[in-house]
Protein backbone atom coordinates (compact mmCIF):
# COMPACT_ATOMS: atom_id res chain seq x y z
CA UNK A 1 0.00 0.00 0.00
CA UNK A 2 1.37 3.42 -0.86
CA UNK A 3 1.76 5.77 2.12
CA UNK A 4 -0.72 8.21 0.65
CA UNK A 5 -3.33 5.43 0.50
CA UNK A 6 -3.22 5.21 4.30
CA UNK A 7 -3.81 8.88 4.84
CA UNK A 8 -6.93 10.13 6.43
CA UNK A 9 -8.91 12.11 3.94
CA UNK A 10 -9.23 15.84 4.43
CA UNK A 11 -12.88 15.16 5.30
CA UNK A 12 -11.83 12.77 8.08
CA UNK A 13 -9.31 15.23 9.48
CA UNK A 14 -12.02 17.85 9.22
CA UNK A 15 -14.32 15.56 11.18
CA UNK A 16 -11.83 15.43 14.05
CA UNK A 17 -11.48 19.20 14.04
CA UNK A 18 -15.23 19.67 13.87
CA UNK A 19 -15.70 17.26 16.79
CA UNK A 20 -13.26 19.34 18.82
CA UNK A 21 -15.00 22.60 17.98
CA UNK A 22 -18.29 21.13 19.23
CA UNK A 23 -16.84 19.53 22.36
CA UNK A 24 -18.19 20.87 25.65
CA UNK A 25 -17.15 20.06 29.20
CA UNK A 26 -20.63 18.73 29.92
CA UNK A 27 -22.43 16.79 27.19
CA UNK A 28 -25.32 14.39 26.81
CA UNK A 29 -24.29 10.83 26.10
CA UNK A 30 -26.33 8.64 23.73
CA UNK A 31 -28.62 7.38 26.49
CA UNK A 32 -29.45 10.89 27.67
CA UNK A 33 -30.02 11.95 24.08
CA UNK A 34 -32.46 9.09 23.54
CA UNK A 35 -34.33 10.06 26.69
CA UNK A 36 -34.91 13.61 25.40
CA UNK A 37 -34.88 13.31 21.61
CA UNK A 38 -38.65 12.82 21.32
CA UNK A 39 -39.26 16.18 23.00
CA UNK A 40 -36.63 17.82 20.81
CA UNK A 41 -38.16 16.35 17.64
CA UNK A 42 -41.64 17.58 18.55
CA UNK A 43 -40.26 21.09 19.19
CA UNK A 44 -38.49 21.06 15.85
CA UNK A 45 -41.62 19.89 14.07
CA UNK A 46 -43.71 22.63 15.69
CA UNK A 47 -41.00 25.28 15.23
CA UNK A 48 -41.03 25.82 18.96
CA UNK A 49 -37.94 27.09 20.80
CA UNK A 50 -36.05 24.41 22.68
CA UNK A 51 -35.26 24.73 26.37
CA UNK A 52 -31.84 24.56 27.91
CA UNK A 53 -31.94 20.83 28.62
CA UNK A 54 -33.05 19.69 25.21
CA UNK A 55 -30.62 22.12 23.55
CA UNK A 56 -28.07 19.55 24.70
CA UNK A 57 -29.79 17.10 22.34
CA UNK A 58 -28.95 19.34 19.40
CA UNK A 59 -25.30 19.50 20.48
CA UNK A 60 -25.15 15.71 20.82
CA UNK A 61 -26.78 15.17 17.42
CA UNK A 62 -24.10 17.35 15.84
CA UNK A 63 -21.43 15.04 17.26
CA UNK A 64 -23.05 11.62 17.02
CA UNK A 65 -23.93 10.32 13.54
CA UNK A 66 -25.85 7.35 14.91
CA UNK A 67 -28.16 9.36 17.13
CA UNK A 68 -28.55 11.81 14.24
CA UNK A 69 -29.55 8.96 11.92
CA UNK A 70 -32.19 7.83 14.42
CA UNK A 71 -33.42 11.40 14.94
CA UNK A 72 -33.81 11.90 11.19
CA UNK A 73 -35.76 8.64 10.98
CA UNK A 74 -37.98 9.81 13.83
CA UNK A 75 -38.66 13.09 12.01
CA UNK A 76 -39.59 11.06 8.93
CA UNK A 77 -42.18 9.15 10.98
CA UNK A 78 -43.56 12.29 12.62
CA UNK A 79 -43.88 14.06 9.27
CA UNK A 80 -45.63 11.03 7.78
CA UNK A 81 -48.14 11.22 10.62
CA UNK A 82 -48.98 14.90 10.11
Amino acid sequence: MKPEDKRLTSEQVGSIVKMLSLTRDREFNCGECLQHVSEFAECQLANKPVGEIIASVEQHLALCPECREEYEALMKILKAGQ
Binding site: E27, S38, E70
Partner: protein, 205 residues
Protein backbone atom coordinates in the same frame (compact mmCIF):
# COMPACT_ATOMS: atom_id res chain seq x y z
CA UNK B 1 -51.15 5.98 6.84
CA UNK B 2 -51.48 7.29 10.37
CA UNK B 3 -48.25 6.46 12.10
CA UNK B 4 -48.27 8.60 15.22
CA UNK B 5 -51.60 9.25 16.90
CA UNK B 6 -52.47 12.16 19.13
CA UNK B 7 -51.85 11.26 22.71
CA UNK B 8 -55.56 10.89 23.44
CA UNK B 9 -55.19 7.93 25.73
CA UNK B 10 -53.02 7.50 28.74
CA UNK B 11 -50.68 4.95 27.27
CA UNK B 12 -48.70 4.12 30.43
CA UNK B 13 -51.95 3.50 32.33
CA UNK B 14 -53.43 1.48 29.47
CA UNK B 15 -50.32 -0.65 29.19
CA UNK B 16 -50.42 -1.31 32.94
CA UNK B 17 -54.17 -1.95 33.04
CA UNK B 18 -55.24 -4.52 35.59
CA UNK B 19 -57.86 -5.83 33.18
CA UNK B 20 -55.87 -8.23 31.06
CA UNK B 21 -58.09 -7.75 27.99
CA UNK B 22 -57.67 -3.96 28.10
CA UNK B 23 -53.95 -4.32 28.60
CA UNK B 24 -53.64 -6.78 25.72
CA UNK B 25 -55.54 -4.39 23.46
CA UNK B 26 -53.22 -1.51 24.36
CA UNK B 27 -50.14 -3.67 23.83
CA UNK B 28 -51.44 -4.82 20.46
CA UNK B 29 -52.22 -1.27 19.34
CA UNK B 30 -48.79 -0.02 20.41
CA UNK B 31 -47.11 -2.87 18.58
CA UNK B 32 -49.03 -1.90 15.44
CA UNK B 33 -47.93 1.73 15.77
CA UNK B 34 -44.29 0.76 16.25
CA UNK B 35 -44.43 -1.59 13.28
CA UNK B 36 -45.98 1.10 11.04
CA UNK B 37 -43.40 3.66 12.15
CA UNK B 38 -40.51 1.30 11.49
CA UNK B 39 -41.93 0.57 8.05
CA UNK B 40 -41.91 4.29 7.21
CA UNK B 41 -38.44 4.87 8.66
CA UNK B 42 -36.78 1.87 7.04
CA UNK B 43 -38.64 2.00 3.74
CA UNK B 44 -36.32 1.42 0.78
CA UNK B 45 -33.50 -0.29 2.67
CA UNK B 46 -32.38 -3.42 0.91
CA UNK B 47 -31.15 -4.97 4.16
CA UNK B 48 -34.56 -4.86 5.85
CA UNK B 49 -37.16 -7.55 5.17
CA UNK B 50 -40.70 -8.04 6.45
CA UNK B 51 -39.29 -10.52 8.95
CA UNK B 52 -36.88 -7.86 10.21
CA UNK B 53 -39.73 -5.40 10.67
CA UNK B 54 -41.63 -7.99 12.70
CA UNK B 55 -38.59 -8.75 14.85
CA UNK B 56 -37.80 -5.06 15.40
CA UNK B 57 -41.41 -4.28 16.32
CA UNK B 58 -41.53 -7.11 18.84
CA UNK B 59 -38.15 -6.28 20.38
CA UNK B 60 -39.10 -2.59 20.51
CA UNK B 61 -42.39 -3.36 22.21
CA UNK B 62 -40.60 -5.30 24.93
CA UNK B 63 -38.05 -2.51 25.36
CA UNK B 64 -40.78 0.13 25.67
CA UNK B 65 -42.73 -1.93 28.19
CA UNK B 66 -39.55 -2.47 30.17
CA UNK B 67 -38.89 1.28 30.28
CA UNK B 68 -42.40 2.51 31.01
CA UNK B 69 -41.24 4.01 34.31
CA UNK B 70 -38.77 6.22 32.42
CA UNK B 71 -41.46 8.01 30.41
CA UNK B 72 -41.74 11.49 31.91
CA UNK B 73 -44.50 12.89 29.72
CA UNK B 74 -42.42 15.64 28.12
CA UNK B 75 -43.42 14.45 24.65
CA UNK B 76 -46.23 12.32 23.30
CA UNK B 77 -45.87 8.76 24.49
CA UNK B 78 -45.93 7.48 20.93
CA UNK B 79 -43.04 9.76 19.90
CA UNK B 80 -41.01 8.55 22.87
CA UNK B 81 -41.81 4.93 22.02
CA UNK B 82 -40.93 5.39 18.33
CA UNK B 83 -37.55 6.84 19.32
CA UNK B 84 -36.85 3.69 21.33
CA UNK B 85 -38.00 1.48 18.45
CA UNK B 86 -35.66 3.24 16.04
CA UNK B 87 -32.79 2.82 18.46
CA UNK B 88 -33.51 -0.91 18.67
CA UNK B 89 -33.73 -1.30 14.89
CA UNK B 90 -30.73 0.79 13.88
CA UNK B 91 -28.54 -0.73 16.61
CA UNK B 92 -29.25 -4.19 15.25
CA UNK B 93 -28.70 -3.18 11.62
CA UNK B 94 -25.37 -1.56 12.46
CA UNK B 95 -24.28 -4.57 14.50
CA UNK B 96 -24.83 -6.88 11.55
CA UNK B 97 -22.82 -4.66 9.25
CA UNK B 98 -19.78 -4.51 11.51
CA UNK B 99 -19.91 -7.88 13.27
CA UNK B 100 -16.77 -9.23 11.60
CA UNK B 101 -14.43 -6.43 12.75
CA UNK B 102 -12.06 -7.49 15.55
CA UNK B 103 -10.58 -5.55 18.46
CA UNK B 104 -7.09 -6.24 17.09
CA UNK B 105 -8.01 -4.62 13.79
CA UNK B 106 -9.51 -1.61 15.54
CA UNK B 107 -6.48 -1.19 17.82
CA UNK B 108 -4.10 -1.50 14.85
CA UNK B 109 -6.15 1.08 12.98
CA UNK B 110 -6.01 3.33 16.02
CA UNK B 111 -2.22 3.06 16.21
CA UNK B 112 -1.90 3.91 12.54
CA UNK B 113 -3.34 7.35 13.17
CA UNK B 114 -0.03 8.26 14.82
CA UNK B 115 1.94 7.50 11.66
CA UNK B 116 3.27 10.69 10.06
CA UNK B 117 1.67 9.85 6.75
CA UNK B 118 -1.81 9.42 8.18
CA UNK B 119 -2.56 13.11 8.48
CA UNK B 120 -0.87 15.07 5.75
CA UNK B 121 0.55 18.50 6.61
CA UNK B 122 -1.52 19.96 3.82
CA UNK B 123 -4.75 18.21 4.88
CA UNK B 124 -6.49 21.59 4.77
CA UNK B 125 -4.34 23.11 2.04
CA UNK B 126 -1.05 24.97 2.21
CA UNK B 127 -2.22 27.79 4.51
CA UNK B 128 0.32 28.29 7.33
CA UNK B 129 -2.22 28.47 10.16
CA UNK B 130 -3.98 25.34 8.97
CA UNK B 131 -0.69 23.48 8.67
CA UNK B 132 0.13 24.50 12.24
CA UNK B 133 -3.26 23.20 13.39
CA UNK B 134 -2.69 19.86 11.69
CA UNK B 135 0.78 19.49 13.24
CA UNK B 136 -0.48 20.24 16.74
CA UNK B 137 -3.42 17.89 16.25
CA UNK B 138 -1.20 15.06 15.03
CA UNK B 139 1.20 15.52 17.95
CA UNK B 140 -1.69 15.58 20.44
CA UNK B 141 -3.19 12.39 19.02
CA UNK B 142 0.19 10.68 19.33
CA UNK B 143 1.17 11.95 22.77
CA UNK B 144 -2.00 12.72 24.70
CA UNK B 145 -4.30 9.81 23.86
CA UNK B 146 -4.25 6.24 25.09
CA UNK B 147 -4.21 3.40 22.54
CA UNK B 148 -7.88 2.70 23.26
CA UNK B 149 -8.80 6.35 22.83
CA UNK B 150 -7.00 6.39 19.47
CA UNK B 151 -8.76 3.19 18.47
CA UNK B 152 -12.14 4.62 19.45
CA UNK B 153 -11.52 7.81 17.48
CA UNK B 154 -10.45 5.81 14.44
CA UNK B 155 -13.57 3.70 14.79
CA UNK B 156 -15.67 6.85 14.69
CA UNK B 157 -13.79 8.19 11.68
CA UNK B 158 -14.42 4.88 9.90
CA UNK B 159 -18.11 5.38 10.74
CA UNK B 160 -18.13 2.30 12.95
CA UNK B 161 -21.27 2.22 15.11
CA UNK B 162 -20.72 3.38 18.65
CA UNK B 163 -22.26 0.17 19.99
CA UNK B 164 -19.71 -1.81 18.02
CA UNK B 165 -16.86 0.27 19.42
CA UNK B 166 -18.26 -0.32 22.90
CA UNK B 167 -18.42 -4.06 22.30
CA UNK B 168 -14.92 -4.29 20.88
CA UNK B 169 -13.44 -2.27 23.72
CA UNK B 170 -15.22 -4.52 26.19
CA UNK B 171 -16.66 -1.70 28.22
CA UNK B 172 -20.01 -0.05 28.91
CA UNK B 173 -21.63 2.59 26.70
CA UNK B 174 -21.19 5.26 29.36
CA UNK B 175 -17.53 4.33 29.94
CA UNK B 176 -16.84 4.35 26.20
CA UNK B 177 -18.57 7.70 25.73
CA UNK B 178 -16.53 9.12 28.62
CA UNK B 179 -13.38 7.73 27.01
CA UNK B 180 -14.16 9.51 23.76
CA UNK B 181 -15.30 12.68 25.50
CA UNK B 182 -12.08 12.78 27.55
CA UNK B 183 -10.09 12.26 24.33
CA UNK B 184 -11.83 15.13 22.56
CA UNK B 185 -11.36 17.40 25.58
CA UNK B 186 -7.65 16.50 25.77
CA UNK B 187 -7.13 17.27 22.08
CA UNK B 188 -9.07 20.52 22.32
CA UNK B 189 -7.06 21.56 25.39
CA UNK B 190 -3.81 20.88 23.54
CA UNK B 191 -4.95 23.04 20.62
CA UNK B 192 -5.88 25.86 23.01
CA UNK B 193 -2.48 25.61 24.71
CA UNK B 194 -0.88 25.95 21.29
CA UNK B 195 -2.77 29.20 20.79
CA UNK B 196 -5.38 27.74 18.47
CA UNK B 197 -8.77 29.12 19.46
CA UNK B 198 -12.24 27.83 18.81
CA UNK B 199 -12.57 30.44 16.06
CA UNK B 200 -9.35 29.16 14.46
CA UNK B 201 -10.74 25.65 14.50
CA UNK B 202 -13.98 26.73 12.83
CA UNK B 203 -12.05 28.78 10.28
CA UNK B 204 -10.11 25.69 9.26
CA UNK B 205 -13.01 24.74 7.01
Amino acid sequence: MQVVTENEINWPAALRASDSADQAAAVSELRGLLHAGLRVALNGRSDVSEAHLEDFAQESLLRVLDRLDQFQGRSKFTTWAQAIALNVAFTELRRKRWQDVSLDALMADGERITEPTMIADDAFGADEDRTHLVKVLRSAIENDLTPKQRAAIMGELREMPFDQIVELLGTSRSAAYKMLHDARRALKQRLLEAGITGADIQNAF
